[in-house]
Symmetry: C2
Subunit: 212 residues, 2 copies
Amino acid sequence: MSIHQMAAFADTATQLHPLVFPSAQVQPISLYGGDSEIYGQGEQAGALYQIEFGAVRLYRLLADGRRQISAFHLAGEVFGFESGDTHHFFAEAICATGLRVIRPAHGADLSRQLLPLALKGLVRAQEHLLVLGRQSALERVAAFMLDMAERQGGLETFDLPMSRTDIGDYLGLTIETVSRIISQLRARGIIRLKTLRTVELLKPNALRDISE
Amino acid sequence: MSIHQMAAFADTATQLHPLVFPSAQVQPISLYGGDSEIYGQGEQAGALYQIEFGAVRLYRLLADGRRQISAFHLAGEVFGFESGDTHHFFAEAICATGLRVIRPAHGADLSRQLLPLALKGLVRAQEHLLVLGRQSALERVAAFMLDMAERQGGLETFDLPMSRTDIGDYLGLTIETVSRIISQLRARGIIRLKTLRTVELLKPNALRDISE
DNA sequence: CGAGATCTTGATCTGACTCAAGAGTCGTGG
DNA sequence: CCACGACTCTTGAGTCAGATCAAGATCTCG
């Protein structure tokens, strides 16, 4: 999608999962190209971001460049809330992405709205700990495919907006291992790739069996 | 500590980090022996728990028994808040533990008090994702030792209330690997074990170098 | 002091990583 | 519309960190 197409789309975009933020200033949609930074670790926090279209990765880096993506966020989801007043992570658009920026009015109390989001994120992160700590490469990729399918409406065909490198950095695997496992799932007739980034689930239950 | 000693201590225990929960019923301290369940996955949630003394593990299980401890909680900390109305994890006392149970009054809104705790937990969990996804066994154990030391006041000597098995299930390692790494840190003069569960940091900066 | 649990150490194995080519895909410009 | 070039993805061969299997050693507590 070109920047021009993005701008045209943004004009007509509707708020997918409307959030009621009283006494907060909801700005028009900001556009981000692929691989562009939304905020960086250490930056001043404060705004919230709701994804209108596109996808976002949140990640941390080690000094030597090792990267762990802690979460992907898709259309409709909200991110950007922090503990303390600075960001603990990097946020980047994965592909062409439109964000609705919400800047709470000074002194406004959004805890009622944010608590459910924070708790949801906490459960998600803790479940991901189980994947990274205790599951095999095959189990990780299977669980990832199911998660992406469910978050895109549960259809049998869905997109992977992110690269194999991103998937590896999310699952704690190398790009080669991710690729090998995808090939294996393909060879076993469990998934089919319509394109490199479009997956068709042929046997979703086989994936469920694998990921336990 | 026997149950009698626990009871005697509980009578005089003070609330370490008092939380103000208006319109919530704060009950007397409940006592738990080592390895006793506080709540289970799927149980009705609702109460909050503040640790007066002792330590707690939160964990999830896979069908075949693999376990991932998502967090340890020490004296003064609060746990038990959930997304939705059922628990997503198991909570167990690690050793003799006293808990102050807080049951919010029906309809009470604690989001203002809980949001900072949930956000803190979220950052903690996401940082732990980096450890599990991208760090070596040596880096994991080093980071764990530093974390435990800091959370017990930053002294050079601190306790490990949990077993090697617990540490392994928290760090995504086997008990043998944890033991080997501890032996290696000992051989390098970085730590000393006063007892099996009491660690003395001889070179905390060496640990910091290892864990980056 | 003794028995069971917990922890340590050794030997071997293996799943995932690393290094190294190739193949495929996609956007660009002629 | 096609051809080029760069990037992403796949596949193969060899290696290694951590798992597994198997004893021992040490600790704890009755």
